[in-house]
Amino acid sequence: MRINRRIPSRGLTPGMMGMGILVLILFMAEFFFQTWCGVQCIRTGYELTEMETRRRELMAMQKNLKIEWIRLKSPQVLGRIAAEQFGLTIAGPDQIVMVP
């Protein structure tokens, strides 16, 4: 007599399969998200460095312009321009009229 006994399957049930796939998708999504975050972080790092370098360059330029501006408004330069270019002189005391 042939006994047709069914061997109990140890495979995954559809529910477990679905759950496994979902976990796998979540895991992969997290993996890709982390990778994307890492790339963004590196890119932002470069951008920050670039911005910082630019800021330093602009600060240096501002400083140089400030020095030039100080030089241009120094009493020597203004005095020379006033005298040579515009023929200005210091007002004599007799030219000063006091308003009562």
């Binding site: 400083k63 009493p75 020597q76 210091i90 000063i96």
Partner: protein, 577 residues
Amino acid sequence: MISTANTKRRIMRRNRRILVIGGIFTVLYLIIGVKAFYLQVIQNADLSKRASNEYARNINCTGRRGSIYDVKHRELVLSTDVVSIGAHPAQIPDKDKLSTAIAQNLGISQRLVYQRLSSSRPFVWIDRNVTPAAAESIKSLGYPGLEYIPSYCRVYPNRTLAAQVLGFSGIDGNGLEGVEYYYDDYLRGNPYQWKIIRDALGRIFEQDEALACTQSYEGKNLILTIDSTIQYIAEKALKRVVEENNAKSGIAIVMDPGSAEIRALVNYPAFNPNSFVVYSKEDWRNRAITDPFEPGSTLKVFLAAAALESGKCGPDYVVYCENGQYRIGRNVIHDTHPYGNLTLGEVVKYSSNIGAAKIAEMIGPEALYQTLVNFGFGEKTGIDCPGEASGCLRDWRQWKKIDNATIAFGQGVSVSAIALITAVSAIANDGVLMRPRVVKAITDKNGAVVKSFGPEEVRKAISPETAQNLKQMMQAATEPEGTGSNAVPPGYSVCGKTGTAQKINPDGTYRNCQYNAVFVGFSPADSPKLAVLVVVNEPRKHHYGGVVAAPAFREIILETFNYMGIPPDNNLFREGA
């Protein structure tokens, strides 16, 4: 039965295969796990350090040196960003090519660069304090073995203006002269370290946060009492008289007599602190502070103070001036013009040496000495500038009879320019001697005051009554017949005194035809706003203080009062007319 047995064998074979494969994977994972544990836990510190050395680097820097401003907060000195370029010669493959490229970009000798790159030392400087643009041009060439270290360079935008007061700092940012040296501890920035992380291509990926807040390492700022416009006026006037009289050099000081704050301190010739190395050390020195000189007849004012304070004579005390010649022992004292009877006031007004000598004899050396000491002669004023000289005033007990006479007209005693104007300012300040200052306040990077210096009274040199009498005598000296008449600008009253002092040789003898022409005074007479001293060293055209130095005094007072908005007195115009 057979079928069942086969099935069982198949299942067993399958399970064995699974076990073997599982075992292999387990072993492999174990190996990886062990290796990971070894690298991540056991070797962690060492590997992290090795990796960090590959991509991270610490750079040592010093904070920006503080700025220096004038009394109206106009910048006199500031620091700007520069880059110092260094090299590791061992890491440079083609020194010839690199030295040519650097020489072209920096405008320096190719031979010099090559010599530096050929050095056996591990590190050499190629050029210090290069502009960021020039450094960038070399960096873009992409040569290995070069270092670009950010630093700061001192800039003096007004060039020679107040050069000896400001001084300068060296290439490493240390103050070497002037207030740069005196206040170096405050001005100097603090050292800090910042970390940069580079990627495989050498690009900077991340910089330490310290870079963003370098301001916290900056040095303190100085606010001077100097007014750059008055400084310019004084420099212009002094330069003119020195050049007109073919003089060797000159000194001018403008002081607020009430507070003893220095508004201008001029040494001519000046130097440019931006390139101080091309000037001689003589030019760097602030001679108004460091070099004492014989004050000549300007000392007669202090003799008059001593006479009045002694109570032995008043302003109208009459002395016979021997018609121009007066013998003391083996020495004969002369006057420029012969005089008969002169009052004490007229001795000051006409600057009679014989009158001064006789008054000194009358009051005695102790009274004269004590008054000079009260005015600060023979001691340092305590001004906040380096290298101050104290001048020379011997104890009165060491004076011979002739010394008492000569000191009365300013020979045998020496004083620095700053001490002389401080003493004259005390007369303008009703007899109160103040400590002179060039720094008004110290501020932090945000402009908040860290330390301030107000007027500081030293002592009461003379009574207000004596000061008032002296003012009248000094004003008389600038009247049309007085020696200092050239010092008076129209519309203003001036109290002043001229001085013409022969210069001394190192052996103590006097030089023929070499003089210091001096004028010191203050204006307006009734409420002094400014005290001014002008000293012209070795004028060759004329040598009298009233001819050489007084016109510079007049120019300084006139232009400075115009700038300060102090109006002329209309009554003086009417009197003049």
